[in-house]
């Protein structure tokens, strides 16, 4: 395949040409309630070409039939010539990589019968259903994938990779009369069949939480000291800060560049933030990004000060900085854009108890249903919460939605515990129509002095 792609590259008359080809085998088994909803095996394949003529714009083409490879290279060339850009697009230098990298398949899922995968997720689904007759519905999904990946560019890069992916997810829905609550379990790893085992307890806990939430009051809206558990703290740093550190947001916008000037203080000295695409075995981990740049650990905030950002080759060249290996594409259907990988808040000191000891009335926000950023404003939804009263964890509350302004909120992080862990959740990140891109977050327990919690507001 590499030879075939190299031959196609030679026929391109553009100043820069890159080709990606992917062939993906995936299986998925879905249970809804007691029913097996579907069990399928799919094969998806296709290619992507991106071409740049000097002084012109990007010409891109994607296709599912490899017979079209040569004609699509030519088509991308025509598209590039149709677009003139001033000042011209430049690409920061990256030493051309040549590698044959098969990630650890951890028990190749392609060798496991669909019936065995069905039995596994059936057991996890059963663990949720068995919790209570209040569990009226469940959704349990097993999904695996092995993607064979080829990448070449006209500067000499040639990569061949095997990339595994595994996700297990469970949703338990509890109902009593008109009240409906849910609990989530999610596991996502760049691993295989071996790592799919022994997850019953997590699925059971999700169902137990859904039942418990039936009796929980809605949190009363207002401002509180808020402690985020590591899972939610991870989602928080991804949503609230990670997206702003993506250089495609700032590189052509003078006002945004000013807002994100390196050296600006974003938080107290306890705050350290980074993005590490090279951390082993995580969902956002890959040896190279989709421009052939090696991934790395990039410091973004060090002791409260902005020190770095995430780059593609184009944004790095435009800002005179170095590519960080963050140009990622969801699949051959998409162009690479600046994305996060595994984003984290660095470890602090002390324990969870140290964070709540002096809190008279606060909220302990746990787990994540999701989050969204509108740049300086963000929202994230906790799976559940507990009130903190006089230094102790108290009653369960529901509908804990945290809303905030990035600059104010980061600056209000005043305590970070020493209990860092990576989330190993499925799901993923969405940007510019490319979703869900596999990413992971990690964090210890984090305290925000004061944050807005949406909820019931008395009239």
């Amino acid at each position: 395949m590499i030879d075939r792609l190299a031959a196609a590259l030679k026929r391109s008359r553009a100043d820069y040409t890159e080709i990606r080809v992917e062939r993906t085998w995936s299986t998925a088994v879905t249970y809804r309630g007691r029913r097996l909803e579907s069990a399928t095996a799919s094969e998806d394949q296709g290619g992507f070409v991106r071409v740049l003529h000097a002084g012109r714009g990007w010409g891109v083409a994607s296709f599912t039939s490899l017979d079209q490879l040569e004609s699509m290279v030519a088509r991308a060339g025509e598209l590039s010539r149709a677009v003139s850009v001033d000042p011209p697009i430049r690409l920061a230098d990256v030493a051309p990589q040549r590698a044959d990298a098969a990630l650890d398949l951890d028990g190749d899922v392609r060798g496991v019968a669909l019936a065995d995968k069905k039995r596994l997720i059936e057991a996890y689904n059963g663990a949720m259903l068995g919790v209570s007759d209040r569990i009226v519905d469940t959704l349990a999904i097993y999904r695996d994938e092995v993607s064979e990946y080829w990448y070449v560019n006209s500067q000499g890069a040639a990569l061949h990779e095997l990339r595994p992916e595994l996700t297990l997810s469970g949703t338990a829905v509890a109902r009593r009369d008109g009240t409906i609550e849910k609990g989530l379990e999610s596991v996502g790893l760049r691993r295989g069949w071996k790592s799919a085992q022994d997850h019953e307890s997590g699925f059971r806990a999700a169902a137990e939480r859904a039942v418990a939430l039936l009796d929980a009051p809605m949190v009363r809206g207002g401002t509180y000291p808020v402690i985020l558990d590591p899972e939610l703290a991870g989602v928080f740093i991804h949503e609230a800060f990670g997206h702003l550190s993506e250089a495609d947001f700032v590189y052509e916008n003078p006002q945004a560049r000013e807002m994100m000037t390196l050296g600006r203080r974003f938080g107290k000295p306890v705050l350290n933030v980074g993005d590490n695409g090279a951390a082993p075995g995580l969902r956002g981990t890959l040896p190279f990004d989709d421009e052939g740049t090696p991934t790395q650990d990039t410091a973004l905030i060090r002791e409260g000060i902005l020190v770095g950002r995430l780059h593609s080759r184009e944004t790095a060249a435009a800002m005179g900085e170095r590519p960080s290996g963050n140009a990622r594409a969801l699949s051959f259907r998409h162009a690479p854009i600046v994305r996060m990988t595994n984003t984290y808040i660095g470890n602090g000191k002390g324990t969870f108890d140290d964070l709540i000891r002096d809190v008279t009335l606060g909220v302990y926000a746990c787990g994540a249903f999701g989050g969204q950023t509108m740049l300086e404003n963000f929202s994230f939804t906790a799976a559940y919460g507990r009130m903190i009263r006089d230094g102790h964890v108290a009653e369960l509350v529901k509908d804990v939605v945290l809303a905030g302004n990035l600059f104010q909120t980061l600056d209000r992080i005043d305590h970070i515990a020493g209990d860092f862990r990576w989330n190993q959740m499925g799901g993923g990140c969405g940007k510019a129509g490319q979703s869900p891109l596999p990413v992971t977050e990690g964090a210890p327990h984090v305290r925000i002095e004061e944050a807005l919690v949406g909820g019931d507001v008395p009239a």
Binding site: A39, T40, S62, D137, F378, A459
Partner: protein
């Protein structure tokens, strides 16, 4: 291709089969921060096959052009072996002799538009949206598709479609204040000047009123949701009106057919036969002819949307809402959603009325909500929502006084649709939903 697939499937699966083949070609141009940066082309084709064997249903899909029909049928049969027994029949639709519903889905002007024409449209939008201190993004996608659906009961149909999607957003960063105002228009034909003018006016009006920042109000207040701002109120209801949610027992509207569940002003329908809309189609992805489905009429629940499988399990008929990608199995999906009386549904985009659709005059102190953050997360079907504002305006003594930040809006969709204050006069398409602004009294607004 699917004829060969069905031929093999007919021999090997005792309960029949159906299949969909889809080929899509797309051309796109993207202007970033005011500059044309990229042009793209996509060509994609794939097939999805479903078989029924020994009472069990299985599916398989592929984008591989060289796949042997036997291999795909083997994969679908392996999927069926694990599947549940479903009494699924494939319709011989359209019934012989009766033509498919008449709906134009393919427009030469859209399909034949050159790359230069798309670039020219983008430049004209940029010129009209440019303003001091702001950056404009424009994305234009032109798509054509061929769809063929067929089954072993003799049902077969084919149609071509075209669509153009134009989206614009204007960014303004001043200090640490980031303001983004955007809108989009999707049409089956090449969009005319009226569509583009409406898009520009919509963005400019909302941007002008957002330049001044004011403190948010707080408490239980009158709130007007714009047509696009209605999403947190619509999502729970559309999820609850899916036959699939009803079968799962998680729909708060299940078992309420014939009941007055909403305000008499609230009606909702799914209509795949709307002229000029890119979601319109003569037949669904399972060979069921398209038709309008009334879901809520004057507050009374009339029914749910179904595909073949959910209909079989609910012992009813498919409503023609089968939606099918290349890889999964079909699911019930909406086409064009019509909210309210929907008597004067336009195919075209009218110039927007004043913001708020005439509903602001009666408000002493309240909010006009255009976009919330995080819609669709959390326990959506339960109806409760709580979101910070992305774009919202304070309304005082009947007038917009400025944009509010750092506020959150909360409520329950089912409860709010039971006490609608008023519908506005500004109905328009927001994506595939036709709706006007709506005023609700006593909506929770929290501020920092």
């Amino acid at each position: 291709m699917i004829e060969r697939l069905l031929e093999v499937a007919r021999r090997r699966a005792d309960g029949g089969a159906d299949a969909l083949w889809r080929r899509v070609e797309r051309t796109s141009v993207a202007f970033e921060w005011g500059r044309l940066k990229a042009a793209g082309a996509t060509e994609e084709a794939g097939a999805n096959l479903r078989v029924r064997h020994r009472g069990r249903v299985g599916v398989a899909g592929t984008t591989a052009a060289d796949v042997a029909p036997d291999d795909l049928v083997t994969r679908a049969l392996a999927s069926a072996e694990l599947g549940e027994e479903i009494d699924l029949g494939f319709p011989a639709s359209p019934p012989s002799g009766s033509p498919l519903p008449s709906i134009s889905t393919f427009f030469d002007r859209a399909a034949g538009a050159s790359l230069d024409a798309l670039i020219a449209m983008g430049r004209s939008l940029l010129e009209r949206l440019e303003r001091e201190g702001c950056h404009v993004n424009v994305a234009i996608d032109r798509e054509t598709a061929q769809v063929r659906v067929a089954n072993t009961s003799g049902g077969a149909a084919e149609y071509a479609s075209s669509g153009v999607a134009v989206s614009v957003d204007v960014w303004r960063i001043a200090g640490d204040d980031v303001l983004a105002v955007g809108d989009s228009a999707e049409t089956a034909d090449f969009p005319g000047d009226d569509v583009l003018a409406a898009l520009v006016a919509s963005v400019n009006t909302r941007l002008d009123r957002a330049l001044r920042i004011v403190a948010p109000p707080e408490g239980a207040l009158p709130v007007v949701f714009t047509p696009s701002g209605l999403s947190p109120l619509m999502l729970p209801v559309t999820q609850a009106l899916s036959g699939k949610a009803v079968l799962q027992g998680i729909s708060p509207l299940g078992g309420k057919v014939g009941e007055q569940a909403f305000d008499v002003g609230f009606s909702l329908a799914d209509d795949p036969l709307r002229a000029g809309r890119p979601s319109s189609r003569p037949i669904d992805d399972e060979c069921v002819a398209s038709r309008r489905t009334a879901l809520v009429e004057r507050g009374v629940v009339r029914g749910f949307i179904y595909d073949l499988e959910t209909a079989a399990r609910a012992r009813t008929q498919s409503t023609g809402n089968g939606e099918r990608g290349i890889f999964g199995k079909p699911v019930p999906g909406y086409t064009n959603i019509l909210v309210g009386d929907a008597v004067d549904v336009g195919a075209r985009h009218a110039l927007p009325q004043a913001l708020g659709g005439g509903l602001l005059a009666s408000i002493t102190d309240g909010l006009l909500v255009d976009e919330l953050i995080g819609v669709g997360q959390g326990n959506v079907i339960g109806g409760a929502f709580s979101h910070p504002v992305a774009l919202a305006y304070r309304v005082e003594r009947g007038e917009i006084t400025g944009r509010v930040k750092d506020a959150a809006v909360a409520g329950n969709a089912y409860e709010l649709w039971n006490r609608v204050g008023a519908f506005g006069n500004d109905a328009r398409w927001a994506g595939s939903r036709w709706a006007s602004s709506v005023l609700f009294e006593g909506v929770s607004v929290a501020r920092r």
